[in-house]
Symmetry: C2
């Protein structure tokens, strides 16, 4: 294939790209991380760049007006390279990590701290300051044994192992620091391991990261391992989205060796930047970060660890492994302390990964006497039902709509997102937006409110079509199909109307139908009724801003007693953090994953009927939603 | 410092060397391994090279006759570089690995096989052929779990861990081989670990190496891990000798970072070449070698693993560690299977290393009801005394004389070595030489015989001086001092007389005195008498060719009942092999090393007196040697 040179002006980055490849991929290979909220599908309009010179072929986009178009503005993801190019990247197109919404973070923390008390505080990596008695002729045990002897009092069990690389210069470090040292001890496969020795007393500086690696978003938290305090949280769209918005596309791409490398590099760059961002914001030294605890779905874990994912997507859907050894962070290409370690929550199967096991740990479902249910609403909707005696789990192909992806104005629940919507009888709209700014888009909880309100006011029908009879400037025929204006140009911060159209509604309807029918199918499987479920934990990006009443109103969640519902936020992240703070909690996940039986919904006789019946708001069978009055 | 170019002609190797550095070091840096039986001290005359051009400064050596000298012959170790040089290296000066004497190898094997029966055959690495049931929708556990499930029947305990690198391409390998695979399982810290998976049935090809890393010699054995058969044994002088013949010199050298690298590279090259030599001689694929088991003294282990050895030689003589984790062989720079692992026998202290712990394992001293003693006569003489309830150990600075080093004609017990000597009343000599050739030199057991016979025939006196009154062409004043001709030029294969001189005898006397007095000091320490010792195991390079009677006659060994003595050969190597063949045996060494109490002879009140009293043949106190009649 012919190759062209792409010169990203002002950033002094030049790369070669094959003819016909897209400009977004070229930018990524050049190390430029453009905003790609929609995953490179031309839907979000955020990867705007200016082609200064050279031949391109591009799709005309509604996000570029004529004036900008004349200046050379294009969407990088919709532009194919047809010659040597000079490209300018406006600052606003470069991705910035967004601080996750403060309240939501605190909320998650509250839930988890309650649960964390159930486990002994014993972080994956601990530091112990010791003043060793200097050796004498009568006491000349080896340096390593001297340290082990001194630590016995501090540890529950003797330090049993030490990797060779960690002892090579031990003798020098100990003597140069006059036998006053801080021993960094890690937990690995049931044993404690000396990771390294630092001169003097450095116990005060001990930090770790918890990460949730989602298909759509990557979330990281910096934790002080002395105080358990969360020092900060960052969320970013998973850059693998450029190679496909769902796991299937990514697995296909990752089945080629180079593809696997690229997907791996994409998520590693996400993680690295979140780490850099949080350590610099908190004035923490990278070298004081000794541990990272990861949770994620099975595909994400395979891609993160560069394990061939090919067979995950081929029937009978076999992952290479569902458990992952503790390893050095540096082995992943992550720059923290070179002696730092990483751990990964184990999963059940291809469709129930460590993110869900983490969620079960975080909400405590596995130890409840009575039956409870966890619904994690992310790119897929994973459901676990059970109690301390049994657990079954399933995954619904819900798509990433509730994570704000794949919708005209979808976004994460971050600053500028519409998260609450009220529409009065006169179709006046009251919006609740995260932060002080005017809105930029709509997050998952905002969409649920919006659908509910549109249904209540008759703007859309039970099957999700726009009511053509409504007389309102907000309802109109748009570029694609009928649309409803949520915020007019002057009310938004992006210089254009924020709308929802029938495609968006269809998308949301399928998502909610998939989740609801999965819940019902699992109940059917064990011959239980909704009333038998004493707790329904709702996890996902919603934070505590999902309006349960509204979610039931649209038929996303079943019409159970309202006090059965409890929000647990990003429970995957919470599980990763619990494991980080207590290796007892980590060990518990090894029990949990073995006790969850995976149910393949495709093989359940009634699942498809349930799904089709759920493709209405709230449902074809209104008898199931007695509290809903349209 | 000024640098010169040294061009090794015909070998197309050219390097830069600083002015005044020696030619042997330059050759080694150029990758040429010259014979250096004496460790680069000008004593063996084996590193002959021809300087064709350029300025040198050299010591005139008795090993170079005038004719050769005119041709440019010099000893590389005694030649300093004073200008750009052209050097030719005769083929006979390049080191060749020598096969260890067949009988001695067999002997060791006999001793050990008797003991090996005490441990379950469970080599460090095992191979299991499995035909996995292909996954189905009803049975779609992960690939790793599928393997673990299938192996459960074959293993005592479930395979618990697998390193990430070993699972990355698992899914592909399994499917390409149609689910018929050989699983290579290694033992690590009490757990079994999947090292890799090979397509098809490869169980027949499973090999390991046992190594004894001595200060003077490196010995390796290739073992078939299916049959326990020893396929071959090779012995080589430790190339670190170039940097110093004893551990102290090497530690000083190794305390500089570059020095540590060089010492490490030297021994790694020894090991690598022995491995290459044995696999090619036995038509074994390197990739089928999955495990290496090492035993060696504490300094050798530090240098092998590139652990800073500085504090081993400084009071209070503290090693960095006396136990070493199991690691990947590739991490040491050894080329066998990239997934192969290496294990190291643990030691007690700076002076009682894994070689001695291996010896205690091999001879079984640790489980005897009655008191027994192990004397390992190598570069040092290490002694362990005890029974199943207690053990004490000490090291005597015996020097490498009995390993054939540091003596005018000393050599290893290999082909061409005089190993037996008889002298009749007329001073006629009958020599027993290893192999069919004429003798080249004298090995340890040969020297013991020789000393004994010289004493008996009055050729030397009790204090080791040559009897000037003897009328014989064999006794003469030599270059250094008085010497005795063991084999005349025409009886030797090296074109010159093989002699022993008074320096050699002094050297041997100190060695034997150090060992004897260490044995007595340990007995005194626990207030036992020689008669309390029911077994004395003799280990070292002697094989079964040490004449006990003669060793007692010269005062090397105490005058105990002869049936108390048992030869165990290279018991360090035997211990390494036992660990290789049974990880139960390896685990046992972790008990043994903890149960041996180290005794510092220097702090023992009577040791120095004992040593001085032992500097006679056999001893100043003849009452201690009632069976010896001079």
């Amino acid at each position: 294939v012919q190759e062209f040179t792409v010169n990203f002006k002002g950033l002094s980055k030049t790369i070669k790209a094959p003819k016909g490849s897209d400009l977004l991929a070229a930018a990524i290979r050049a190390g430029l991380i453009l905003n790609t909220a929609c995953g490179g599908e031309g839907l979000c309009g955020k990867c705007r760049v200016i082609v200064k010179k050279g031949n391109i072929r591009d799709e005309r986009s509604k996000f570029i007006n004529d004036r900008d178009r004349k200046k050379g503005f294009v969407l990088a993801c919709q532009t194919l390279i047809e010659g040597d190019l000079e490209v300018e990247v406006p600052k606003e197109s470069l991705e910035v990590h967004e601080k996750i919404k403060h309240e939501s973070e605190e909320f998650t923390k509250g839930i988890i701290l309650k649960r964390e008390d159930g486990f002994k505080f014993s972080p994956f990596v601990r530091k112990f300051y010791v003043e060793l008695p200097p050796p004498t002729l009568d006491d000349n045990v080896s340096d390593l044994e001297r340290i082990g002897r001194e630590l016995k009092g501090s540890l529950d069990k003797v330090m049993l192992s030490a990797k060779l690389a960690n002892v090579k210069h031990l003798s020098e470090v100990i003597r140069e620091s006059d036998f006053k040292i801080t021993v960094v001890v890690g937990y690995r496969d049931g044993e404690l391991e000396m990771l390294t020795v630092e001169p003097g007393d450095t116990t005060k500086a001990n930090y770790g990261f918890a990460f949730d690696i989602g298909t759509t978003t990557v979330v990281g938290q910096l934790i002080d391992l002395n105080t358990k305090n969360i020092l900060g949280t960052r969320i970013a769209f998973n850059r693998q989205s450029v190679y496909g918005s769902d796991v299937i596309t990514r697995i296909i791409y990752g089945s080629e060796p180079k593809g696997l490398d690229e997907l791996n590099e994409a998520v590693i760059s996400n993680i690295s930047e979140i780490i850099e961002d949080l350590v610099s914001a908190n004035k923490v030294n990278l070298s004081d970060v000794y541990v990272i605890s990861y949770a994620g779905n099975m595909t994400m874990m395979h891609l993160l660890l560069k394990i061939d994912p090919t067979n995950i997507r081929k029937a009978p859907y076999v992952p290479t492994t569902t458990v992952f050894p503790i390893m050095h962070s540096s082995g992943l290409g992550i720059e923290v302390s070179p002696k730092g370690i990483s751990s990964f929550l184990p999963g059940v199967s291809t469709y129930i990964g460590g993110d869900i096991v983490g969620g079960v740990l975080a909400c405590g479902l596995y130890e409840n006497d009575e039956i409870s249910l966890l619904a994690d609403i992310g790119t897929n909707g994973e459901i676990v039902l059970g109690n301390k005696e049994w657990m079954i789990g399933a995954a619904a192909s819900a798509g990433p709509a509730f994570e704000g992806s794949g919708l005209s104005f979808g976004m994460k629940a971050v600053r500028g997102a519409i998260e609450k919507v009220k529409i009065d009888e006169n179709l006046n709209i009251e919006l609740g937006t995260i932060g002080p700014d005017k809105p930029k888009g709509i997050c998952g909880s905002g969409y649920i409110d919006l659908l509910c309100q549109m249904l209540k006011r008759g703007i859309i029908t039970k099957d999700g079509k726009m009511n053509r009879g409504i007389k309102s400037g907000r309802v109109r025929k748009g570029a694609a199909n009928y649309e409803f204006v949520v915020a007019f140009k002057n009310e938004s911060s992006i210089g254009k109307d924020i709308i929802i159209n029938e495609d968006d509604i269809e998308n949301l309807k399928r998502s909610k139908g998939a989740i609801y029918s999965a819940i019902i199918a699992l109940l059917n499987k064990v011959e239980k009724k909704l009333g038998d479920v004493k707790k329904i934990y709702i996890a996902g990006g919603f934070g505590n801003y999902l309006n349960i009443e509204n979610a039931i109103f649209i038929g996303l969640l079943p019409d159970a007693d309202r006090d059965v519902y409890e929000f647990v936020g990003n429970s995957s992240l919470a599980g990763a953090r619990m494991a980080l703070l207590s290796h007892e909690a980590f060990e518990k996940t090894n029990e949990i994953y073995k006790n969850i039986t995976y149910v393949d919904l495709g093989s359940e006789p009634n699942y498809m009927d349930e799904y089709i019946a759920a493709l209405f708001f709230p449902h074809t069978d209104l008898g199931r939603f007695p509290s809903v009055r349209l």
